[in-house]
Amino acid sequence: MSQPVLQIKDLKTQFFTDDGVVQAVDGVSFDLHSGETLGIVGESGCGKSVTALSILRLVQEPGRIVAGQILFKGDDLVQMSDEEVREIRGKDIAMIFQDPLSSLNPVLTVGFQIEEAIEAHGKVPGKTALNRAVALLKQVRIPAAESRVQDYPHQFSGGMRQRAMIAMGLANSPSILIADEPTTALDVTVQAQILELLRDLNRDLKTAIILITHNMGVVASLCTRVLVMYAGRVVEQGPVEQIFKDPQHPYTWSLLQSIPRLDSDRHDRLLSIEGFPPDLIRPPRGCRFNPRCQFKIDRCLHDDPPLMNVGPDQDAACWVTMRRALSSNGERRG
């Protein structure tokens, strides 16, 4: 395996609020290789979006990165000055968000905004920028790109706006594209189109993609590797096929059991994960998932498990693991 293009080492981001310190990202580590599609999946409050914002140093007050390293091609983004990070943002690492309606300026044409993105990293002669904008719109499969480039965001539909956002993101040929819930606000047929586009762009341009989502189906469609996050931590990671076929962390396993599948027999009762999302200010002692875990043992209440290798290229942060939990013939404690 070649040297990873992005290495996150023990990242910690916290929010200092009146109610206490929210440990949003608490020791997250992972690698991203060139051209890879990595999914970060988890529910609200698990820290996945904050992780993405941290990578691009976009975390705002009252939040800050308090520890860890973000190594992009060897350079630590955490240590860089604002100037240096601005160089990288939008050029080497680009980000697109969930709701393109609020990310796009309604009073500027789409073409202008793409040109802005291009020119933020170096002046180019006027015509060149426009041509590149049109080329980008074509690349994201917007029909009649030459005339569409003069249109305003409100003249685009939701799916097309998201494509325009992707075009902006790709304007400077970044090595990494971070997509934070890019299809959550879109209709499912449009979502399928966008996912197909991202897949093709990844294949053709070799841009690595970090896809943040709560939707396991989206992960299964697009990603090659996946990180499962819970309470600010990575609880499981590995190749997508393995994680879905053989999840080792009880949270991953329960999550997969609780989603209704289109191809399942509808009489199967869904597994539901009891309890509530964890308190990030005063997280539970021991394993953070233990209050909701059906398979916990004594150790889980006191010792916080680190990520441990549980299979070829698969890690999970669990003392028990599903392998052992399921083989003990339903002998569950806790």
């Binding site: 529910e43 209709d187 879905f244 509808r266």
Partner: protein, 328 residues
């Protein structure tokens, strides 16, 4: 199922919203449906299809532009004021957003008790007892009745909304995207709860959602809507195995299955273009602009296909439904 009398019957319901300058949003166009006692009917579609509007027309939270809604044989569209209000006892709704469907200034107990107060059904201690009973039924601590909504998580708030809907012991509950705003792990809790409640209280549900996987799971029958019209009705197993409308088939193929092996083998039907605006819907079959098997200009662009039976208990609105299994 076809021999029983429907609990709810909508006949040629139309809803147009004025959109200024003489234009109107044709949100629901000539929809007819039946819901039988004890069943769960799923209503599914993407944005602009009119499903939420239809839900509100059925509960008469919105007045129809034309058409009739019969509940237990009585035409709700002909009722006004107090008479209509009385029918609300039997027709309740669960709303989508647990964060805005509960009044932040009222205690949870008051919120649940309000329907009971509205009809003067119970007072004082009896009312309090009923509220606590309802909290227990939906899986919440009965002593939480003095707390405020913001003290609860999204899933818990949705349970409160369900408790409120149950307070009057309604016959029909229209659930408008009841789980879309919830976390994935909580959605299963609420789905299971709704199924249990249905068994315990013999409820009938109209379950409106955009997520076909969820709708299939909980429903007996599924209705697919597109741009204000129902395009297909079938039971939930059949609609997946044998869709007879090209839109349904495309919709099914677009939904990602959380299984990478299965997912990689699926063939996705990509539809051309985007959903047209309901202000200016296409002529003839509203789906013809994106349909992979449309025959233009005739009949698809100038005639509206009727929603008719293509197989037993399976209706679709397409002139070429027999082509769907192969050509789509």
């Amino acid at each position: 199922m076809a021999d029983r009398t429907p609990l709810l019957r909508a006949e040629n319901v139309v809803k147009h919203f004025p959109a200024g300058l003489g234009a109107s949003v044709k949100a629901v166009e000539n929809v007819s449906l039946e819901i039988y006692p004890g069943e769960t009917v799923g209503l599914v579609g993407e944005s602009g299809c009119g499903k939420s509007t239809l839900g509100r027309l059925i509960t008469q939270l919105l007045p129809v532009t034309s058409g009739n809604v019969f509940f237990d044989g009585v035409d709700l569209t002909k009722l006004r004021g107090e008479k209509l209000r009385q029918y609300r006892r039997q027709l309740q709704m669960i709303f989508q957003d647990p964060y805005s469907s509960l009044d932040p200034r009222m205690t949870v107990g008051d919120i649940i008790a309000e329907p009971l107060e509205n009809f003067g059904l119970l007072r004082g201690r009896m009312k309090d007892q009923r509220v606590q009973e309802l909290l227990k039924i939906v899986g919440l601590n009965p002593y939480f009745n003095n707390r405020y909504p913001h003290e609860f998580s999204g899933g818990q708030r949705q349970r409160i909304g369900i408790a409120r809907a149950l307070a009057l012991r309604p016959k029909l509950i229209v659930a408008d995207e009841p789980i879309s705003a919830l976390d994935v792990s909580i959605q299963a809790q609420i789905i299971n709860l709704m199924e249990d409640l249905q068994k315990e209280f013999q409820l009938t549900y109209l379950f409106i959602a955009h997520d076909l996987s969820v709708v299939r799971h909980i429903s007996d029958r599924v209705m697919v809507m597109y741009l204000g019209k129902i395009v297909e009705v079938a039971d939930s197993v059949e609609i997946y195995r044998n869709p007879r409308h090209p839109y349904t088939k495309a919709l099914l193929s677009a939904i990602p299955i959380p299984d990478p092996e299965v997912q990689s083998k699926r063939r996705i039907v990509t539809l051309a273009g985007e959903i047209p605006s309901p202000v200016n819907p296409p002529s003839g079959c509203r789906f013809h602009t994106r349909c992979p098997i449309a025959q233009l200009p005739t009949p698809c662009a100038d005639q509206e296909p009727p929603l008719e039976a293509k197989a037993r208990d399976h209706r679709a609105a397409c002139f070429f439904s027999e082509k769907v299994p192969v050509a789509v």
